[in-house]
């Protein structure tokens, strides 16, 4: 079989995407921003390329890992200060409204 033809056929089967292009487009794919034809070409490449499938899964696991990161610890003094401010706010809320008084 002619070498050029083989390369063309392989390129076609890989969706005419190189692995480098797949790596750069993986977020677009996950975000669902592709047209139907782009999506099909992308999936054709994934179907034949284990390395790119691995890369896609690695990106998904990265997202899942980030989503499970523990929250930042908020120091107790920040919370205490906030509770003080909350009580002041609540106290002010319970005071009679000066504008409504003046209407009386």
């Amino acid at each position: 079989m002619d070498k050029n033809f083989k390369q063309q056929l392989m390129g076609y089967l890989l969706g005419n995407f190189s692995c480098k292009e797949i790596a750069e487009l993986v977020t677009d794919y996950l975000e669902g921003s592709f047209s139907l034809s782009q999506r099909l070409r992308f999936q054709m490449h994934l179907g034949l390329c284990l390395a790119c499938r691995n890369y896609l899964h690695q990106m998904k696991y990265t997202v899942a890992t980030l989503h499970q990161l523990p929250s930042e610890a908020v120091p107790a003094h920040v919370k205490e200060e906030l509770m003080k401010r909350f009580r002041t706010w609540k106290h002010e809320q319970s005071l009679p409204n000066p504008s409504s008084d003046s209407q009386l």
Partner: protein, 236 residues
């Protein structure tokens, strides 16, 4: 006929005034807002415990120090109290919190000369040019051009749990996030750490959908690169 039979229990529950799971979840947020509007101290304390860690993480991406970020979180909660009476539930409560924080943090960040709006800063509008991965990771010549030079390995399905069990790996992820340019850090924090939708992130940060995607891709690519040596071959 079977539909009618199966629909009986839910109809009965509805008639008895028992809310469905979905209604309960909606009621929870609506209930939280109503309690805050009433000035319920216990609910305020619980909401503060629940959301302040997320707020602090996002605040740190806008301002230069943790101390200033803590002040921004306090200002955010004061903003919540000022605005809770007008909260109409057009977005989720959490998204509303992030929006208040972002506005306050931008003001503080500008004052502290850290944050600059998009388009004004060379360092903050990063991400629009060049590939996110180095060329050296791919074959550059011959018939294999553009293919992986060192093909990515499979990660185990329990990667997230294993990665976060390792303190060293967790620190490496945190360091990688902190080292990101500000806008990438803000996008990945909101999208991937906090799970906010793309549309809401665009709204909160006032960026376009395309820009959001580019920033997210570059940020994810960097964090993936940091994670890889820790989880490759099942090691953590």
């Amino acid at each position: 006929m079977s539909f009618l039979v199966w629909s009986w229990p839910s109809n009965l529950l509805f008639a008895l005034g028992v809310p469905t799971l979905q209604e309960t979840m909606q009621l929870d947020e609506a209930g939280l807002v109503r309690a805050l509007q009433r000035g319920d101290e216990r609910v305020f304390a619980a909401a503060m415990d629940l959301y302040s860690g997320s707020l602090l993480r996002l605040a740190m991406s806008f301002v230069p120090s943790r101390a200033v970020a803590e002040e921004v979180v306090q200002e955010t909660w004061m903003g919540v109290l000022e605005g809770i009476g007008r909260f109409e539930g057009r977005s989720s409560f959490k998204t509303w919190l992030f929006r208040i924080l972002t506005n306050r943090a931008k003001t503080r960040g500008t004052r502290e000369r850290r944050y600059e709006p998009f388009g004004l800063s060379g360092t903050d509008s990063e991400g629009d040019d060049g590939p996110s991965l180095e060329d050296s990771l791919f074959v550059t010549e011959g018939s294999g051009k553009g293919h992986w030079a060192d093909p990515p390995q499979g990660w185990e399905p329990d990667t997230p749990e294993r990665a976060l069990l390792s303190k060293e790996c967790r620190m490496a992820i945190e360091t990688a996030i902190n080292a990101l340019p500000d806008t990438q850090r803000q996008v990945i924090t909101l999208r991937d750490v906090e799970g906010v939708s793309a549309e809401e992130v665009c709204n909160i940060l006032s960026i376009s959908e395309t820009n959001q995607r580019v920033l997210l891709h570059r940020a994810r690519t960097k964090v993936r690169g940091v994670l890889d040596p820790y989880v490759r071959g099942g090691n953590t």
